[in-house]
């Protein structure tokens, strides 16, 4: 049973970097915490993130960004050293509409780190992790670019 990120410095540095990226800041993404190797992020409900003006429900694209980012951080919790990763594919199942006015949380885990590909799953929820509003699975390519994502970090 894994209890800690393999290299906490890699996860913390890359995790903070991911959350601080311009698009994530535009969405108001926030770091909530890590349990074992499962990070949790959240996005507060905001009027300019709404997809359906009649209902006030958050746009599905916001959930896509939240799942993508949280899942990427889950991968970094399993990386022994700094490396660049890139999403290869992503699928989101929208289980039920998100309630307007409430934050959306996302918890992700990397359930398999292979030599070239990392496999993740994620749950989005509002009131309780037991009442998910969306489920996401993704794969990430490892060592995807020679350009390091972290300044000073090994590519």
């Amino acid at each position: 049973m894994s209890t800690r990120p393999i290299n906490p410095k890699v996860m913390e540095t890359m995790g903070q970097l991911f959350v601080s990226l311009p698009h994530c800041q535009t969405l108001g993404m926030q770091w909530v915490g890590v349990e074992g190797r499962k990070p949790t992020l959240k996005i507060e409900w905001r009027e300019d993130l709404v997809g359906n003006p009649a209902s006030g429900v958050i746009h599905g694209g916001v959930i896509t960004s939240l799942v993508d980012t949280t899942s990427a951080i889950a991968v970094t919790a399993n990386l022994p050293d700094f490396e660049t990763i890139a999403t290869l594919d992503l699928r989101i199942d929208y289980l039920t509409a998100a309630k307007p006015g409430k934050p959306i949380f996302c918890t992700a885990e990397c359930y398999r780190l292979a030599g070239q590909v990392a496999f993740t799953r994620a749950i989005c929820y509002q009131d309780s992790v037991d009442a998910p509003i969306a489920h996401g699975v993704a794969t990430f390519m490892r060592d995807s670019s020679r350009v390091p994502m972290v300044e000073g970090g090994k590519a």
């Binding site: 958050i58 699928r91 929208y94």
Partner: protein, 147 residues
């Protein structure tokens, strides 16, 4: 039927694509634009904005943002091409990233692969300079009826 769907229908009649984007807050935040081409096809575009960056070193657009752009395109494409005042609801969305999206305009086109009584299947393709080199392809399922 919602006020939004009625407004969408009247804006489509007027050909006012910009006002449709204005009515969808997150589409406006992303900076989405779209137009109806002479042959009737919808072309979606997303001019580059620094707020949409997901990799500052390359730089590249955020993968989640690309997903949001494509999902939004699929929804507008579907409503535009249907004569229903019921808003489609997205069931699932699957996205394959083929290349990183650079600091340039991103384009997208959609195709309704199948429209049944209850479910529609929409294919979406995104590219930048060269349509033969797609940045991402996606598909979405939408529920067409409530209940």
């Amino acid at each position: 039927m919602s006020a939004f769907m009625q407004r969408f229908a009247s804006l489509r009649e007027a050909g006012d694509c910009a006002a449709i984007i204005e009515a969808i807050p997150y589409a406006r935040l992303m900076g989405v634009e779209f137009c109806e081409q002479p042959e009737g096809e919808l072309l979606f575009s997303l001019p580059f904005h620094t707020r949409n960056i997901g990799n500052t070193m390359l730089p590249a657009l955020h993968g989640g943002l690309i997903g949001g752009f494509l999902e939004n395109a699929a929804l507008i494409h579907l409503i535009w091409n249907r004569d229903s005042l019921e808003a489609p609801k997205i069931v699932d969305f699957s996205l394959d990233y083929l290349r990183s999206a650079r600091a340039q305009t991103l384009y997208a086109r959609c195709e309704i692969t199948k429209q049944g009584k209850r479910v529609a299947h929409v294919l979406i393709e995104a590219w930048q300079e060269d349509r033969a080199k797609p940045v991402a392809v996606a598909r979405a399922h939408f529920l067409l009826t409530t209940g």
